[in-house]
């Protein structure tokens, strides 16, 4: 019954792509083309080396004109990759772009099956389904929506900062939302950066103040996105601004209040110093924090705990900026595009108890050491251990929480290089003997290998082998009072015991704790490891599957500063290219109500997640607001009268696919 009426008029062009050997190597493309030639409606059936190439597309266009084709089916890769390419080609050939259907015989067939015969058979079934499907295709017009030129950047680490500045310099209005009280992210905590050894703060803080002073950037630190509505070009975002108990407009960051706090000494572990020092309840994360505004930690402040504090801070502030009654604020903003640069977290060393973190006081994580060697750190840059001594022997253990089936399988990409950097800095600060325990040395970056060579010349020791354990159990006199690193030296095939005073764990990079919540809120995906998933690993590394949302930096996977900055620039450029286009085409896969069939039963009204359906009480019929419909098709499946149809996914199309797959022709069904 499907498409019977106009069957005679249908002239289908079918093309099967070899994709070099990718498809042709695993299934018999010629026999697929020959088979499809025999199907009703097919006027042309060909196989071609690369359908997505210019000559491939021209072939289709020529056939449309010469053979009067009015439907096109291409069997090649996934529609998620090239459907758009072919639709454009079809349109250029003079046909409505939606008279097209794509058959996925690469990702779904040739790449996953080894039995050539079965693969060919499957490809034929899929091709037949598509050929039968296009009979009921209709000409459609894509929806156009305007792009709001404002951009939301989430995360104020180096990636977010760079993306925000790039966009703001291009004249776009940017909202930069950062969860913690200051921007700067992990980079602000680092001492020096590899391989150039320039001071992280010196290159970062100027950018931070540019953000603060840029007239196009609205910086909201200590704030979180709580809700995202809308769609590409028109996102509506709700931001929660947590109370700092300080009026941000009034505070000038003089820090007099901190000085005058009733606590003479800090009691709360200082987040910025990786817990190596203590801070007061009223504090500023670090001297160059941006914005330069103090805040009060509610959990630690006596006034909040008992209400009986002398409030010396209030007295000290001549600008009356302290406000214990400050409330959380909710802001609504609108933005056309969003860049997520939410960063990473370091691997939790407690998960590998055999390395003694938390058990032996002189075992440190790399982040702690960054603070320890930093001039503005807890020890003003002097490497003094928790036991008060200066280390003479230091062991750095690579790949902690990386390249390990027990923890994380991926390589964190930065640890080799930062371990080399820390080895250099520790040696410089203490003149200790430094041992690096590594599995493989990975230095793939500009001037990275040269940095490694330099370290070799500095007489840093390298032992190749995964460390088994760190223990204080001495078996030799020289091990007394030391930490012993036990590892197999795979170069000479023996087990080494190296007694040291300080152990540094080169912890890997992991997805942030809330990565899953964030991805849900923004409607994007995560890869298996939990990092945000890019649209294509090679060709769309900063795009996501949700239009208008881009990712940058370590939230997408472990990466160092240069790569993060490059990606942030790319994400900004992608957002700009969308903004400057002014509008975007959306899939016209919206649903509509066939008025004559609608019984006015209201079933669809409650089912639509976007409230796109309303009921005309006079006519007693349902209506779908096309602008609100996002094309999920849930109402179509729910309508008891079959009165709702979804463009591109009409019932007829799906039934003809089912028939095709099961080797029935259109006429054999129903």
């Amino acid at each position: 019954m499907h498409g019977n009426g106009h069957k005679e008029d249908i002239r289908i062009g079918f093309y099967v792509c070899h994709c070099g050997h990718n498809i042709a190597g695993s299934l018999d493309v010629k026999s697929v083309a020959e088979y499809v030639k025999t199907l009703p409606g097919v006027a042309v059936s060909r196989d071609y080396k690369y359908m997505c190439s210019d000559p491939g597309q021209e072939l289709v266009q020529k056939d449309i004109r010469q053979n009067k084709l009015n439907r096109i089916v291409v069997a090649s890769c996934s529609p998620l990759l090239h459907e758009h390419t072919f639709r454009i080609a079809v349109e250029k050939g003079g046909l409505n772009p939606f008279y097209f259907q794509m058959v996925n015989i690469r990702e779904n067939v040739s790449w996953v099956h080894t039995d050539k015969k079965a693969a060919t058979e499957k490809a034929k079934d899929l091709a037949r389904a598509a050929v039968q499907r296009v009979f009921s295709h209709k000409p459609l017009e894509p929806k156009h929506v305007k792009i709001n030129p404002d951009v939301l950047v989430v995360g104020g680490g180096i990636s977010g900062i760079h993306a925000a500045l790039t966009l703001a310099n291009a004249g776009k209005k940017v909202y930069l939302v950062e969860k913690s009280p200051t921007i700067g992210g992990h980079m602000a905590m680092f001492d020096k950066t590899f391989p150039t050894l320039d001071c992280a703060a010196c290159i970062l803080t100027p950018k931070m103040s540019q953000v603060k002073n840029h007239s196009n950037i609205t910086l909201w630190s200590y704030s979180e996105v709580t809700k995202v509505d809308g769609y590409v070009g028109n996102y509506k975002i709700t931001v929660k601004r947590k109370p700092r108990y300080i009026n941000e407009e009034l505070c000038v960051g003089c820090m007099d209040c901190i000085e005058k706090c009733v606590y003479k000494e800090g009691k709360t572990p200082d987040e910025f110093n990786a817990g190596l020092s203590k801070r007061k309840p009223i504090y500023i994360p670090f001297p160059q924090a941006t914005p330069q505004v103090v805040l009060i930690d509610r959990e630690a402040c006596i006034e909040f705990k008992s209400g009986h504090c002398k409030k010396t801070c209030v007295e000290a502030c001549d600008r009356n900026a302290i406000d214990f009654k400050q409330q959380e604020e909710t802001k609504e903003i609108e933005a056309g595009t969003i860049i997520l640069a939410t960063g990473f977290k370091t691997f939790d060393a407690d998960k590998v108890p055999y390395y003694g973190y938390g058990k032996y006081q002189n075992v440190y994580t790399s982040l702690e050491v960054e603070r320890l060697v930093n001039a503005s750190g807890p020890t003003s840059g002097e490497v003094i251990l928790r036991n008060g001594k200066t280390p003479k022997m230091i062991g750095i253990i690579h790949c902690v929480g990386s390249r390990d089936k027990r923890t994380n399988r991926w390589c964190s990409r930065t640890c080799c290089m930062y371990s080399l950097k820390l080895a250099h800095l520790l040696k410089e600060h203490t003149d200790a003997e430094v041992y690096n325990f590594y599995i493989d040395m990975r230095t793939p970056g500009k001037a990275y290998e040269e940095f490694y060579d330099k370290l070799l010349e500095e007489n840093v020791h390298f032992i190749r082998g995964r460390v088994a354990e760190v223990t204080d159990c001495a078996v030799r006199p020289e091990e007394e009072g030391k930490l012993i690193i036990r590892a197999e030296d795979t170069m000479i095939g023996i087990v080494r015991r190296v007694p040291v005073d300080m152990v540094v764990l080169a912890v890997g990079m992991e997805p942030k704790e809330d990565a899953q919540d964030v991805r849900r809120m923004f409607n994007i995906s995560c890869s298996t490891e939990g990092f945000f998933l890019e649209r294509h690993p090679k060709l769309a590394p900063v795009d996501t599957f949700t239009d208008g949302i881009y990712i940058a930096g370590a939230c997408q996977g472990p990466k160092d500063i240069p790569d993060s900055v490059a990606q942030a620039g790319a994400a900004a450029a992608q957002a700009l290219s969308l903004i400057d286009r002014g509008e975007i085409e959306l899939e016209p896969n919206t649903a509509f109500v066939v008025q004559e069939e609608c019984s006015g039963c209201r079933t669809c009204l409650t089912i639509c997640p976007y409230n796109a359906i309303s009921r005309d009480e006079e006519k007693q019929k349902a209506f779908i607001n096309e602008a609100l419909c996002k094309g999920c098709g849930t109402c179509v499946a729910a309508c008891p009268s079959g009165a709702i149809k979804q463009n591109l996914f009409e019932d007829e199309m799906i039934y003809s696919e089912i028939n095709g797959l099961l080797k029935l022709t259109s006429t054999e069904c129903c």
Binding site: S78, E107, V109, H113, L533, T546, C632, D651, L662, C669
Partner: protein, 171 residues
């Protein structure tokens, strides 16, 4: 003897036919990932892409079975992850009802499966399709079209008989 032989050869050449409906955003993407990762799995499932598992009308499933599918697989985003907020919950509700119906129709439980597979779970696509293929293979062909044909024949015969009786009574 001969007939057993014949049967066994026809059984050997029989391959389960599974129709799979995958939502665009999670499970279809996962299947693409399985491809990109060159995971190998059995070639018995044929995928139909829909935007959301909420689009899947129970009729599609019944249709597939009645047209000769030996198994039907639905793949959608994990609860809470649907690209359209809650289409997968709608799918789940329909599937639960449908399962009861299929049971009444004598279609074994293992022939119909709903799976939440996220975009990153290429492995899962492989496992589910392999598993289901084996389970359906064990159950053997469902043969709904043949059953329908048999029923049609029986109906035909019945009808004829009734007609004949009617004629005789009339006479």
């Amino acid at each position: 003897m001969v007939s057993t032989n014949e049967q066994s050869t026809s059984k050997n050449s029989w391959e389960p036919r599974i129709v799979a409906f995958f939502c665009n955003w999670c499970t279809y993407t996962a299947a693409d990932l399985a491809g990109v990762s060159r995971l190998r799995y059995s070639p018995n499932a044929r995928i139909i892409r829909v935007m959301c598992s909420g689009r899947i009308d129970p009729q599609f499933v019944l249709d597939a079975f009645s047209k000769g599918a030996d198994g039907v697989l639905i793949g959608g985003c994990h609860p809470g992850d649907c690209h359209y907020i809650e289409g997968n919950y709608k799918a789940l509700r329909r599937v639960q009802l449908l399962k009861r119906m299929l049971k009444d129709m004598g279609i074994e439980e293992k022939r119909f499966r709903l799976e939440w597979i996220s975009a990153s779970e290429g492995e899962r696509v492989k496992t589910v399709i392999n598993e289901m293929t084996e389970q359906v293979r064990e159950l053997g062909p469902l043969g709904m079209p043949e059953r329908f044909a048999d029923w049609d024949k029986e109906l035909d015969i019945l009808e004829k008989e009734i007609n004949r009786k009617g004629e005789t009574v009339d006479a």
